[in-house]
């Protein structure tokens, strides 16, 4: 295969606790650490491994977002991606729009494989890869935990509710990553330096010919109901007594 396209999203770092804005309009990201979505990092790592095995020639990472998303694109290039594209916008982008914008880039770049994260840990939507596959009329393998090429056929093992399932498909195809696909590498300083010189092409969203108006209006964002404070029990005996009193055992 020649090209792999990896769409990556910049999100609130998974170790940060989100703060709900008091006016109920959303999550306050000001001053918070933003990072590459963990599933996207796994997607980049998988693409780099395929290239290292000699199975791919070029890896292009793409992000749709603000100018700040260049940071995660640089990180992906430090991991081994060859070049990057930013579709720049200050507007919130829903998965359907993201899928259409990625299709726009895919039509230009003509990749053989697109690897996405299974889910962005901010919106927790778990849709973009499947939508993209449908728009391109490509086969898909979601929630991948292992990938291998056999001749021209891609074999993907998927994490499903009952265990694992393996699918085979021709390229081009769309894959979305699960947590156990690989463990992403740390970027070395020389690679971080090298990544600064790699090409990062910026396209304003307005030239992509995609209507980015949102379809879901967010009426309100609130904190979940807090749980009632619990209490400590001294030992196993007291625990069993409490659970019997509560009627749960």
């Amino acid at each position: 295969m020649k090209k792999i396209l990896v769409p990556i999203k910049m999100v609130l770092d998974a170790n940060m606790r989100p703060r709900v804005k008091t006016d109920g309009s959303g999550i306050d990201l000001s001053g918070m650490k933003l990072s590459i979505n963990p599933f996207c990092e796994i997607a980049v790592e998988e693409a780099v491994r395929l290239k290292e095995k000699g199975l791919a020639e070029e890896i292009i990472v793409i992000s749709i977002g603000t100018a700040k998303a260049q940071d995660v694109l640089r990180q992906a290039m430090a991991m081994g991606a060859d070049r990057a594209r930013l579709i720049e916008t200050d507007q919130p982008i829903e998965p359907l729009t993201a899928a259409k914008l990625i299709r726009f880039v895919a039509e230009e770049e003509k990749p053989d494989l697109i690897i996405l994260g299974k889910q962005a840990v901010d919106d927790d939507c778990n849709q973009t890869g499947q939508m993209l596959a449908a728009l391109l009329d490509w086969p898909q393998a979601t929630f991948a935990s292992a990938l291998k090429m056999e001749a021209d056929t891609l074999h993907v093992t998927r994490e499903v509710d009952g265990g694992h399932q393996t699918l085979a498909m021709p390229l081009p195809a769309v894959v979305t990553t699960d947590l156990r696909l690989n463990e992403p590498r740390h970027c070395s300083l020389p690679n971080i330096m090298k990544a600064r010189k790699k090409a990062l092409d910026i396209t304003p969203v307005s030239v992509c010919g995609v209507n980015i108006e949102t379809r879901l209006n967010v009426l309100n964002v609130k904190s979940p109901e807090p749980r009632k404070p619990g209490r400590r029990v001294a030992d196993a005996n007291e625990l069993v007594t409490e659970l019997r009193t509560a009627g749960v055992i």
Partner: protein, 311 residues
């Protein structure tokens, strides 16, 4: 206002998540049809016909549909969807795989993993690993929605069966093919529908301890077994037991977290349980912040004690 639900099943029996999706659908429309797609799915269709609130069962029986692969099932749903105001499914690995394809082809934005229906076009759904709940109103005329099973009770069984209608699959060349599957066999109740769940974390230390320490307690309590991501990553438990933001979401009557620290991604999968128990040797473990009953101690002594007391 007729809603079409995609039935979730394993080829033999109807997943209880489907009956939960029926409950959600009842808030969204006035008639409910269920699509049972698969191979030799007669018994599944029968079960679907006996879920209260279901008005009709569409049966698509075809070898191509045997493993509910995304391409053919989505194509079938897209074709059928023209007669419906919404297509919905439980947010299982099947529903999550298939429904976004339907949404994209119908050019609508899917509403994923809803926990409440406020109106036929307005829903609540958790975001940021359940650290926030957003209320969204869809402006699309046609709706595609996935349902978080733990947030809805299963619609009960009825004695009168809804009528069945056979439908056929559009003929097309499908690109992805099924090769094999490896399903975890377990004596334990199913994780997402069990009344009691006992989950183990990295604190268990080995696959062997995971089994020998947790199984006797699970047997006493007729409980399902779950795991944290760290326990799954370390190979103590199979992937399908993972509870959390990116695993399964559970809300049993009783949840015991044993040797689990309580990272937000784990809490995302269990914090709506009715009663939560934490057993951890670290008194500062965050899991204690959500536990109704916290026991600070070494799990290797506490759990066998519990087994003894329960007899």
């Amino acid at each position: 206002m007729t809603i079409l639900i995609l039935a979730d099943h394993d080829g033999h029996s109807l997943n209880d998540a489907t009956a939960r999706a029926v409950s959600a659908a009842r808030y969204m429309g006035d008639a409910i049809h269920i699509l049972v797609a698969g191979e030799n799915v007669g018994p599944v269709a029968q079960a679907a016909a006996h879920v209260s609130g279901v008005d009709k069962v569409l049966v698509a029986d075809d070898p191509t549909l045997a493993h509910l692969l995304a391409e053919p099932v989505a194509e079938l749903l897209i074709e059928l969807s023209k007669d419906y105001t919404a297509v919905i499914a439980a947010a299982t690995s099947i529903g999550k795989d298939i429904l976004p394809r339907v949404a994209a082809r119908r050019d609508v934005m899917q509403v994923s993993d809803i926990t409440r229906v406020i109106a036929a076009d307005t829903f609540e759904r958790p975001i940021y690993a359940g650290n926030a709940i957003e209320t969204v109103k869809s402006s699309d005329a046609f709706k595609v929605v996935t349902i978080r099973s733990s947030a809805f009770d299963a619609s009960p069984q009825t004695t009168t069966a809804a009528p069945e209608e056979n439908i056929s699959l559009p003929s097309k060349a499908w690109k992805a093919h099924f090769v094999s599957e490896e399903l975890t066999k377990s004596e334990r109740p199913e994780l997402t529908s069990a009344r009691i769940v006992i989950s183990g974390g990295r604190g268990l230390g080995s696959a062997q301890a995971f089994q020998t320490v947790l199984t006797p307690l699970a047997e006493r309590l007729h409980a399902a077994i779950g795991a944290s991501r760290a326990a799954v990553d370390a190979g103590y438990a199979p992937n399908d037991l993972q509870v959390g933001q990116t695993g399964k979401i559970v809300a049993p009557e009783l949840y015991l977290a044993i040797g689990i620290s309580g990272a937000i991604q784990h809490l995302a999968g269990m914090k709506d349980s009715k009663v939560i128990v934490a057993i951890n040797k670290d008194p500062d473990a965050p899991i204690f912040n959500v536990a109704d009953f916290g026991l600070v101690g070494d799990l290797f002594t506490v759990v066998p004690e519990l087994v003894n007391i329960l007899g």
